[in-house]
Structures are given as C-alpha cells and as structure tokens.
C-alpha cells in the first residue's frame, strides 16, 4: 500500500507493507536517530512526535500516519544540539543510545507542561529508560534547559 505523510517538514510518499511499523519506515528513510530498544513498548528509545504528541514509533503502524506530521530528532535542528550539549555538560551522555527518544520527550514536555515541577518532570519522562545514568544528570540538564527557555 502507498502512504503519504510529512516528516520533519518534508512530504514522504512510499510503498509500505501493511504490517510495517513507523520505526522501520523512518529508519528505512534514513532517519536513524530513532532507536530500537525493548520491543515491548517500555523503553521510550523510539519516541517521536506524531501531530505534536510523543508516541512510540515501534508500536504505531506506518499505515496509520497517513496525512500526519512526524517529528524526529533530525527535524529539531539546533534545538537537539542545545539539549545534547546540556546533557553532556551534566555527564549524562554515556552510551547515548537513549538520548534521541529522551530529547523528543523533553520537547513534548516543554510544549505541553507549563513550569513543570521536579515531580511533573519525573512523571512525564517515566517512559524513557536509561541504563547508564542514575537520571540525576538528566534531571539537572532538563532543569537547565527549561531555565534557558525562560530566560530567552
């Protein structure tokens, strides 16, 4: 079957297998920031924004995103670099495998929650697992990122 959707502002038309998941469609089209992790909808590595909502691309069929807008890390441009640098400054970038999904969730949180408390942040990002760090560094990086946003 053929689908058309918008990914990072660009229109994509492609032929897919009806069972193909969005993660495979994205990676097949070169968007390899989207990582495969648990395959059980638990780890958050494959998180992307679909019409502004953070979603697990490993559980969304590519056929279901027709006419929708997808945003991956590649589409964030400077913003992803900014968050990445803040994370690196706090020592959270060890293997870095979880970072793309984590950054997409942070962007979604920033768009959806106004002045989130530490508890709000923990709850919003509960679906993003990291096996290297203890999450403390990420928390500092997020707070710095949100503070930077306020000062702009």
């Amino acid at each position: 079957m053929e689908i058309t959707c918008k990914i990072n502002g660009k229109i994509y038309t492609d032929t897919i297998n009806p069972s193909e998941f969005l993660i495979d469609f994205l990676r097949r089209n070169g968007l390899v920031s989207v990582k495969r992790g648990c395959e059980t909808s638990n780890c958050g590595l494959c998180s992307v924004l679909i019409n502004g909502k953070v979603s697990l691309s490993c559980s969304v069929l590519a056929a279901s995103v027709v006419d929708k807008e997808i945003l991956t890390l590649e589409g964030l441009g400077e913003e992803s670099l900014r968050i990445g640098m803040l994370m690196a400054a706090e020592g959270t970038e060890q293997c870095g495998y979880c970072s793309p999904g984590f950054i997409m969730s942070v962007i979604s949180m920033k768009n959806n929650l106004k002045d989130p408390s530490e508890e709000n942040i923990k709850q919003y990002l509960a679906g993003n697992l990291c096996r290297c760090s203890g999450y403390e560094g990420q928390m500092r990086a997020i707070k710095n990122y949100l503070k930077d946003g306020k000062n702009e």
Binding site: M1, P18, S19, F21, E39, T40, S41, N42, G44, S47, K53, V54, S55, L56, C58, S59, V60, L61, A63, S64, S105, S108, M109, Q123, Y124, L125, A126, G127, N128, L129
Partner: protein, 258 residues
C-alpha cells in the same frame, strides 16, 4: 504479527461486517500488545475515523469512545471530577508516549488480568457498548469469553463517589502484580481485586459486610481472602499477594471511612 491488508473503516457497520466475514480480521487498538504476538491476520481494521475519539458528557453519564487514548483520559477534567479513580489508574501505566496511543477500547476488550483500567472502572457503575448498540455491564463483559466483538464505547454513570486505588509493581512503569480498588457511593461499597493474576473480580461478601457496617478489619480481610482466589506467577507468589491484599484493603477502607 502481520496483516495481509490494512483497512480504514468508515462506519461501525463496516467493522461489524469485516469481523463477521473472517475470524482472522482484527480491530487495531494501541498496538502495544497486539504487536507482540506472531499471528498473521487477514485484515487489520483501523477505527480511527469513526468519531470514537471523544469523551462526551450527558446529564446522567459520561461516554468514552473506544479510540480515546489513555492520555486523554488522564487529562480529562470531566473524568477528574466524576471518575478520578480511572484517571489515577491510567496515570500509572508505562509512560506518556505509551498512553498517547494506548486506547480505552483496547484495554477493556483485551480483559487482561493486570489491567489497571478494568480494576478502576469496576469500582464505578460502567456499561460496555459493543457493536454500536448492545450494552453489557462491565463486570459481565470482563468475565465473558473473548470473541470477535467491537467495543465501541465505555459508558460511566455520573455518581458522587469516594475512591481508593492501590497497586504494587516491580518498578514504577511495569504492569501491576496486585491491584485493590475500592469505592463508596451512597454508603454502598465496591471492592475489586485485580492482577490476582487472573481477571479482576468483585469481592462480593466483603462488599456486603461493608454495606452492613462491619468495621472489624480482621473480619473483612479474612472474608476477602476466603472469597478471592489469588495465585502465583513470575511477578509474585500467592503468599505475597495475600499479604498485600490485606494491607491495601485496610488502607482502602480506612480512607473511605474518613
């Protein structure tokens, strides 16, 4: 999991016809569980264009379309007011990105023993609409055999209730291995035990004793353990479940009596 064909349905009748045509046709919900099996289906039916993605308030009830996401439920001011137990229960399920695509219809239809959604809804007065017209009480639906029905709506009666909801999980975003959910509406109690590990059920004798005004916690916990079958699985032993049920029942009734 594989599909030979993907069909976007445009009416409830079309879904019913496709389900009747082949046992191998299946409705697509949030996909989180369906994707984990190894079956090949003839047709995957997309129900996202049926207008079932709304939470609608009526004078006496709230209707939740099958395609409403768990995240929409979590953020609904209406449900926070009338059915906070459901809001609290769904907020514990994995992460935001999971809840953005998991649907209430898929959660109810699947009747998983560990379902937070079902354990919470059972403490309310809820009907399940199937195939766009028939309505069945949730507790009957939960105990029924899984067949090719189309859960179209969840209908919750508007009532003023107090709720208490307790679960235990190995980690915050894991599935629960015991759930105790309670409600009090006009001095009538409901007590539900889920993740036993089998499907959630009412503790009817315990509910009766609470309605009659029994306040002896030991009598209540003994009654509950005598009437509800608990078992062991990879998540927890039967003994540990029994221990937790006692603690949660005590906390729950104390909270409802306040």
């Amino acid at each position: 999991m594989n599909f030979k064909k993907y069909v976007v349905a445009h009416s409830v009748n079309e879904v019913n016809e496709l389900l009747a045509k082949s046992r191998n046709n299946i409705i697509l919900g949030g996909m989180h569980w369906l994707k984990q099996n190894r079956k090949t289906y003839s047709i995957g039916i997309d129900i996202s264009k049926l207008g079932l993605d709304e939470i609608i308030e009526f004078d006496d009830r709230i209707e939740i379309g099958a395609a409403v996401s768990l995240r929409d439920i979590e953020e609904s001011e209406l449900l926070k007011k009338y059915c906070n137990v459901l809001v609290e229960a769904v907020s514990k399920i994995v992460g935001v990105q999971f809840r953005n695509t998991a649907t209430i219809g898929g959660s109810v239809y699947s009747r998983f023993g560990f379902s937070d959604v079902i354990a919470a809804l059972l403490t309310t007065n809820t009907l399940v609409e199937v195939n766009g017209n028939d309505q069945i009480a949730l507790h009957q639906f939960v105990q029924s055999k899984i067949s090719k029905t189309f859960v179209t709506k969840i209908i919750i009666k508007k009532e003023v209730s107090k709720f208490a909801y307790y679960t235990m999980r190995k980690s915050a975003t894991d599935i629960p291995y015991i759930i105790v959910s309670l409600s009090k509406t006009d001095n009538r109690y409901k007590v539900v035990v889920g993740a036993r590990p089998s499907r959630a059920i009412y503790a009817l004798e315990t509910m009766k004793k609470l309605d009659e005004g029994v306040t002896d916690i030991e009598e209540l916990t003994n009654t509950l353990l005598n009437e509800v079958d608990l078992g062991s699985n990879v998540f927890s032993s039967k003994d540990y479940r029994e221990h937790l049920v006692k603690v949660f029942l005590k906390r729950g009734v104390n909270s409802l009596w306040k």
